[in-house]
Amino acid sequence: MPERLLSAAEAIREAQDQAMAADRRVFVIGEGVADPKGVFGTTLGRVEKYGPGRVVETPLSENAFTGVAIGSALMGQRPILVHQRVEFALLAMEQMVGNAAKAHYVSNGAHCVPLVIRLIIGRGWGQGPQHSQSLEALFAYIPGLKLVMPATPADAKGMLLAAIADDNPVVFMEHRWIHYATGHVPEASAPTPLDGPRRRRDGDDVTLVATSYMVFEAVQAADALAGEGVGVDLFDLRVARPLVLDAVVQSVRRTGRLVIVDTGWQAFGIGAEIAARVTESCFGALKAAPRRIGLPAHPTPSSPMLAKAYYPSSEAIAETAGSLAGLEKNRVAKVRETIARNRNDVPFDIPHPSFRGPF
């Protein structure tokens, strides 16, 4: 039987559907979950199948419906909550940090909050300062929350299933542009453990850790660098909390070099934790200081001309990783050219077709 190609959006929809079919306690809640667009298609058709009692369209009340989801979880339900933009979750921070993250600990284990909070990160098309932030560092900081950031469609499905099956509150961050990526996705309802990074490319010269959509940019960079003989050991971080870095540390022991690329602001971002922890773990093996690539310290501008400078490109990743690995300037330039050639004329503010996989 040939393997199926699904987009990550379809994979997410399928995971939710299978979980709902298998377990009556699972339900979906949020703004737009039952509307005709179905949260970028990821909940489409579910209200017809499961009814409004399990596909709960809410009033505009992010803080309350987060608390409602938590309360239902305390009573044994298994809600999947979704915000179409991560920004809306800022209104619900108190519920997330105060109640969801702490109930199990504070109750000395009596309470569980089996809650998935899907947060969608925007990007592109001038969405600007308040519709395209990448605030994962805020959630990564909170003990009691798990933080999952899938990149591939297979992970989008498998890790969402695992998040639903998890007895803890799991923040599941979906970058809009991974929604479009396609890949082989198993039909079975099989959770993929939330157990840490996965290697996406092999190499001995430099270790590259990327999160979410930046994994695709990193793949472009790694492949182009491979063409110039630089071996990139590329990890897809997948889980930011709890942060498991053994494989990365092992890799750095071999390569001596680390570059981290994430979707958020660089300063105080999750790259800082990764850099600090890897440094603590294998200082002696490091040939140079770990390098971080992230967003510059300002809000997302709407104008395409300003946004273009805002997002780190595969070129920038290749340049950082390549020069860290000692690649000569002219060969770095060649790598940049290769990447640019592959990009063709696709505007940078819509997803590049080459990111559509299959991955």
Binding site: T66, I70, G71, S72, L74, V106, S107, C112
Partner: protein, 331 residues
């Protein structure tokens, strides 16, 4: 004006009335004992006493079944006890002991007892309100005829999350009751500085929700109003608002009186103290011949013994192992 005694007490079962009285006496005695012993510094966490507010806790919880759930706030002692929470586990919790209802992790503001139907207490104002609505959603989704009741302070009504929760519960006709203990103050700030001048029940109109305003120091009036709200919720009629006027006697947080601070006048305090929910009800029971002095003495003696035992338990119970402090962050 709050309604008083919508059902004449005469028609009520005397044993049941004595039970209400006993529970109010007990809550009062527990908190008086906490106040008396607080300066010994064995209870090393903040305490928000509800002395003076016993009728709301008891009247409301008496309207609930054991499998109904309540949600409470920083001022949760009375609610916890009235719903049937374990006194020993409460005292151990306040003493930071492993036998506490949270294993010592929560302290006085986090009391809960799953078996008794005290789902959670949360010290962030109004933060437990959506949890109650969520419990109600779970009941509705599973077709259970259970009810969730949120205890709120008057201050809690000012928080946005209360309004979001009330609206959501109303739209979905969830089996929830919003029970407000209006004690006129949020910390040291009077209601008049925090809400415009209108009957508090007007809030319910925004959510097309029935509302009742009762004398919160009249335990049977509280009970009757809550029964009405709970019955409606249980029958699928959706949420209601109950406003019960009452008064906190002691300081906002801690064991003392704080009238010296000047934020409330001595006259106001004396008026409310004169309307003691426990004393007035006891006097009424006696006047109607339902309670004798002997019986009252026996009750007090039993309660004192129970409380002594609970304190002894809490004091002697072991502390949690410091090495366990990091356990159980994840399930």
């Amino acid at each position: 004006m709050p309604e008083s005694q919508p059902n004449g007490r005469d028609s009520l079962d005397p044993a049941w009335l004595l039970g209400l009285y006993r529970e109010m006496l007990r809550i009062r005695a527990v908190e008086e004992e906490i106040a008396a012993r607080y300066s010994e510094q064995e209870m090393r966490c903040p305490v928000h006493l509800s002395i003076g507010q016993e009728a709301t806790a008891v009247g409301a919880c008496q309207a609930l079944r054991p499998d109904d759930q309540i949600l409470s706030s920083h001022r949760c002692h009375g609610h916890y006890l009235a719903k049937g929470g374990d006194l020993k586990a409460m005292m151990a919790e306040i003493h930071g002991k492993a036998a506490g209802c949270c294993g010592g992790r929560g302290g006085s503001m986090h009391l809960f007892d799953l078996k008794a139907g005290v789902l959670a207490s949360v010290p962030i104002v109004s933060s437990s309100v959506p949890l109650a609505v969520g419990a109600a959603l779970a009941f509705q989704q599973r077709g259970e005829d259970r009810v969730a009741l949120a205890f709120l302070g008057d201050g809690s009504l000012e928080e946005g999350v209360f309004h979001e929760s009330a609206n959501l519960a109303a739209v979905m006709k969830l089996p929830a009751v919003f029970f407000v203990e209006n004690n006129l103050y949020a910390v040291y700030t009077h209601l008049r500085g925090r809400q415009p001048d209108r009957p508090m029940t007007e809030i319910a109109r925004a959510y097309a929700m029935p509302a009742r305003h009762v004398d919160g120091n009249d335990v049977t009036a509280v009970h009757a109003a809550t029964v009405e709200a709970v019955s409606r919720a249980r029958a699928g009629g959706g949420p209601s608002l109950v406003i019960a006027d009452t008064y906190r006697w002691r300081e906002h947080c801690g064991p003392n009186y704080d009238n010296d601070l000047g934020y409330r006048g001595p006259e106001e305090f004396e008026v409310w103290k004169g309307r003691c929910p426990v004393g007035a009800f006891g006097a009424d029971l006696k006047a109607r011949g339902l309670l004798g002095d002997d019986e009252e003495t026996r009750m007090n003696r039993q309660i004192a013994a129970e409380i002594d035992a609970a304190f002894a338990f809490a004091r002697e119970a072991p502390f949690p192992d410091p090495a366990s402090a990091g356990d159980g962050v994840y399930a």
